[in-house]
Symmetry: C2
Subunit: 414 residues, 2 copies
């Protein structure tokens, strides 16, 4: 039998502002996030026993091709802690968080640090997009393109809105999946726009967010078409930023104090499966969510708020369904109902999500943890979800077959 | 209190031949190593609950810039297992192994897979060397060069052997450290050559090794000077290859059978420290080794064989001292005594080491595990260390200050 898992907590979190800050290095971003998270936990710089650093693009954009995490974490004033560099595409941040939780649970250390950072706006966009295209098997680019053509074929874009011009093929992927969802479940482009506006409204209340202006639904619909039905305001931007979390066990918590600690109820890496897109009830995050709920002894009805991976707003539609916030196929209706707004039944992406808060790849998963912890502590100010008790986060990265190559579902509880 | 650690075992290992095989992709190398390790453990493809993939150069050389581990592991016929991509420079392989052990110890899964692979010979060497130079803080290249000049200044190369022409600055680093050791402890170039010949002699018995020809000491001394006192045969080559290990707990071992399982007595990531080079007794691997011995309840006198990180033969001298196989400063004398040969008191790098077995970066740490497991099982054939009961491995990567940025010491026992 596996060891009975001991309790794991988040004792401190921090994030930098997300957005364009090309004048700052990965080192500088990491320092701010690590400083903040340690201060938030009242944790000494010598205390973390292991650190996990999530990053995807620093080698390409800053030339630090190896041990980048050691260099950044030591520059942040932590000379002692062993560091592991992890990469799982857009799920890198939660991968680092999961490893920190696992290390503490294994008794490898009492306190572990997870930090994610990305600095992407200094690079020319073509290089960023080229790098993102390594998020699936580069030997199968043709096969993937053909699969997408078939998947999206059920819905024809209106005249004048033909796509095919997305600079990031990932946007073509999201667009094809969205069109399939329109074809089968009746998702509308207007519902997608409602998600964008809702997240902008949330981001306007978040001082860390990249975009804090709120558009009208019409403005979103009239935005430049990236890949129909997705317009520019429906897609996550390129961002710079970092986020960090201090994870610990009961022994450490006895020192830190329990008042502001948040418990990790589950952090589950998704298991892959070879399946058809139509089998949405077997999506990788669906299955990971089921396992997370089971581990925590909870169900979707217990969740106070959700942070999901809306690299485009279609991601939020899909993941709302996968997390069980509504039946499969009903994500558009859920968004339209207002339930996912701050003040609604189940607020989604109160941070603004990837689309408005921003998406510095390696930092994103930890920014989700930051948001949940802040909300569960009741410290979210004007964007506070009243009485938040349980938060869920979903973070996905890369692509294999018709689903994410890496996916994590996390449940935190106050 | 941390959870009382449960027992962790290596149930299966495998490696490909190391050497020049530019016609094979990372995927192909991974498939061979994973197939072999699963077969060796009699482990079903669906069984591993987590996998850790160690690689440093695939993004640069094959263009698979993200989720490379997922793509390779799924191509090897494991569609289910969640994968984490890890990088810790030349210590990446043991980093993956440590995470696999930690995951099993935490109860996150009963069986975890660690795999490391690198395919480097297809790239032009200048690009390989450029990539390796990202192994320290690229903002401090000048400061590092100056420190090396000071460190190596105690010994002047003989006329005609002036260095400064090493294509890899890492070789300059090793050379400067070697010269310091010559200056302070009396290490000789001939002792370095003896290590090279000894490892060639070992590699000649290892069918997986890259170089299997044995030179004379004079041939080694007369080799092209890479960075004095290091000649070409004293340095690890550029290599292609992969290695893998299946790690599990008692529950899984009940299924696999215990006969060939090897127990992980300790796997310790080194903790960094800001120190002067002169304080060799506080070297990162010295301190990690002390902790590993303590965890295992063993001392250096209990060790049957050691695999150490001889990126150059000076690495073996230094690490023999750090692991306590001899007093600090006596590494050259230890090598000269014959004690580290197969048949000697404490055989070191019976595999041939990085220098002769080869050094496909991400695979190296796992090739060390392969060697120890094979020896502890008594399955090493003509290179078997008689009665091997306890093995130690040391794997280091990158550079911070005067020591490795990442370092691991592992103790395995039959």
């Amino acid at each position: 039998m596996p060891v009975r898992a001991s309790a794991v907590y988040v004792a401190g979190v921090a994030m930098t502002r997300f957005g364009r800050q090309p004048e700052r290095s990965v080192k500088a971003l990491v320092q701010e996030a690590v400083d903040g998270a340690l201060r938030d936990a009242a944790c000494d710089r010598q205390a973390p026993g292991l650190a996990f650093f999530a990053n995807c693009t620093q080698a390409a954009f800053e030339g630090q091709t190896a041990v980048a995490g050691q260099i950044a974490v030591r520059a942040a004033g932590l000379p002692r802690v062993p560091v592991v560099n992890v990469e799982n595409a857009c799920a890198s941040g939660t991968t680092a968080f999961h490893l920190a939780c696992t290390a503490v649970r294994a008794g490898a250390c009492d306190i572990a640090l997870a930090v994610g950072a990305e600095r992407m706006t200094a690079a020319d966009k073509a290089r960023v997009f080229a790098l993102l295209e390594g998020g699936w098997d580069i030997d199968e680019t043709e096969a993937i393109a053909e699969r997408l053509r078939r998947l999206g074929a059920g819905v024809t874009p209106p005249p004048g809105a033909a796509d095919g011009g997305a600079k990031s093929v990932f946007m073509d992927v999201y667009a094809a999946f969205a069109r399939y969802h329109m074809h089968i479940y009746g998702l509308t482009q207007r519902q997608l726009a409602l998600v964008a506006v809702k997240n902008q409204t949330h981001a306007a209340l978040n001082p860390f967010a990249q975009y804090r202006e709120v558009m009208t639904v019409e403005q979103v619909l009239n935005g430049r078409v990236v890949a129909w039905p997705l317009t520019l305001p429906m897609c996550a931007p390129i961002s710079d930023g970092a986020a960090a979390a201090v994870v610990c066990n009961d022994a450490a918590l006895a020192r830190f104090g329990r008042a502001r600690a948040v418990r990790v109820l589950a952090c589950v890496p998704g298991e892959g499966e070879t399946r058809e897109w139509a089998q949405l009830d077997r999506h990788i995050t669906r299955r990971a969510a089921e396992r997370a709920y089971e581990e925590a002894g909870l169900g979707p009805e217990d969740v106070s708020l959700a942070e999901v991976h809306d690299a485009t707003v279609f991601g939020e539609i899909l993941q709302s369904e996968c997390l069980g916030l509504c039946p499969i196929g009903d994500g558009g209706l859920l968004a339209e109902s207002g339930a996912t707004r701050l003040g609604g039944r189940i607020p989604v992406n109160v941070s603004g999500g990837l689309q408005s808060r921003g998406h510095p790849i390696g930092a994103t998963g930890l920014a989700q943890i930051f948001e949940l912890v802040t909300q569960l502590r009741g410290e979210a100010g004007s964007r506070q979800v009243p009485g938040a008790r349980i938060g869920i986060a979903e973070n996905g990265g890369g692509m294999h077959g018709v689903e994410e190559a890496a996916a994590y579902v996390t449940l935190l509880g106050s």
